[in-house]
């Protein structure tokens, strides 16, 4: 079990990536024709923060001409307002300045790991080591596995990780395996 994976850090990275993607969405070819063709044209009232939009009554502050709010002075069709005949002009269906993002989403997309970082992996490892050590008690090499399992079980309890029951079971089985192996060595020596 991988307990080192940092969920929070990963989530932050993805949220930053998502935010960055949203900011760059004007050039994103996946966003459809509307952003490519109407880029910086002020055709959408929800682009108000870029071109004044409704906020300055359609006048460009630079040249004072009633150009429908286009900062470059060019006159575009439809007076700077969204064309009702053009579907999906890149603003959220529920409208409003606050809900708009360049991608057309009304909220951020969050991708996150649904598995918690702390899963009690050492306890599982401890019990597995204990079982393997018991099965192969006649092999002296398994003492190493038993000692590793014992350490893992103690670490799990010391770090207050989940699956304490498994950790206790791991400690018990590993102790049993060590005793069995020592008994077997004495048995062989007595023969």
């Amino acid at each position: 079990m991988d307990s080192n994976f940092d969920n929070q850090e990963q989530n932050q990275n993805w949220q930053e990536a998502d935010r960055s993607r949203s900011e760059q969405g004007w050039q994103d070819p996946n966003q459809g024709w509307q952003n490519q063709n109407w880029q910086n044209q002020g055709a959408n009232p929800y682009y108000g923060e870029y071109n004044g939009g409704y906020g300055n009554n359609g006048y460009n502050n630079n040249n004072g001409q009633p150009n429908g709010g286009y900062p470059n002075g060019n006159v575009y069709p439809n007076g700077g307002y969204p064309n009702p005949n053009m579907p999906n002009q890149g603003y959220a269906p529920n409208g409003g300045y606050n809900s708009y993002t360049p991608n057309g989403y009304s909220g951020p997309i969050v991708v996150s790991n649904a598995v918690p970082a702390k899963t009690g992996g050492p306890a599982v490892g401890s019990l597995v080591c204990g079982i393997i050590s018991i099965i192969c008690f006649w092999s002296i090499v398994t003492i190493i596995a038993a000692v590793v399992g014992l350490v893992l079980g103690i670490v799990n309890i010391a770090q207050d990780q989940p699956n304490k029951g498994l950790a206790v079971a791991g400690i018990v089985t590993n102790c049993l395996a060590i005793l069995l192996t020592i008994a077997f060595i004495f048995f062989l020596a007595a023969l």
């Binding site: 079990m1 991988d2 994976f5 990963q10 993805w14 990536a17 998502d18 993607r21 996946n30 959220a92 269906p93 529920n94 991608n103 057309g104 989403y105 009304s106 909220g107 997309i109 969050v110 991708v111 996150s112 790991n113 649904a114 598995v115 918690p116 899963t119 009690g120 306890a123 599982v124 490892g125 019990l127 597995v128 079982i131 393997i132 099965i135 192969c136 989940p162 699956n163 498994l166």
Partner: protein, 164 residues
């Protein structure tokens, strides 16, 4: 590279493309609207991925066990409409079986038994996600029979001197 792709429509009627794939040398990846996210398996022995993707008004999960991926939309699996069970809710004893089947099988009975253990582990995990305890136990018993067969074979070969 194996891949799966789905289309999810959020509460605003916007269609999103979801996909996931397991690269041979790159691990699992999730793709959301063309953006690829590298994801990490929650188990170091078997590829087990459970990632949440939140769209406005729609919560999705991509659950991957081995190379098989399934999509969950608002708590229901998209393919067979069964309720979603998070990977985090898999009991710890199932993970003990998984680790034992792979590591134990490999160390005690050899590589082939370890490979069989990997295949059986995906069965345990899939059954655990379906809350099918009988299937988990049944699969583990089958594995133990295979394990015992390999163990007995190795013991017999060692005792008879066939291995030199």
């Amino acid at each position: 590279m194996n891949g799966n792709a789905w289309t999810v429509t959020d509460a605003n009627g916007i269609a999103h493309q979801l996909g996931c794939a397991v690269k041979t040398f790159g691990g699992p990846e999730i793709t959301v609207d063309g953006n690829t996210y590298k994801v990490k398996s929650s188990n170091f022995l078997v590829n087990v991925v459970d990632y949440s993707v939140d769209f406005p008004g729609v919560n999705c999960h991509i659950v991957m066990v081995g190379k098989k991926a399934r999509l969950v939309v608002n708590g229901v699996y998209d393919d067979d409409k069964t309720p979603y069970e998070p990977v985090a809710s898999i009991p710890a004893w199932v993970w003990v079986m998984v680790v034992f089947s792979i590591i134990g099988g490999w160390l005690i009975c050899g590589l082939l038994c370890g490979v069989i253990g990997i295949a059986m582990s995906t069965v345990y995990i899939t059954a655990a996600l379906q809350r099918n305890t009988k299937k988990i136990i049944g699969a583990f018993v089958i594995y133990l029979v295979i394990f015992a067969g390999f163990f007995a074979l190795g013991f017999w070969l060692g005792a008879s001197g066939a291995l030199g």
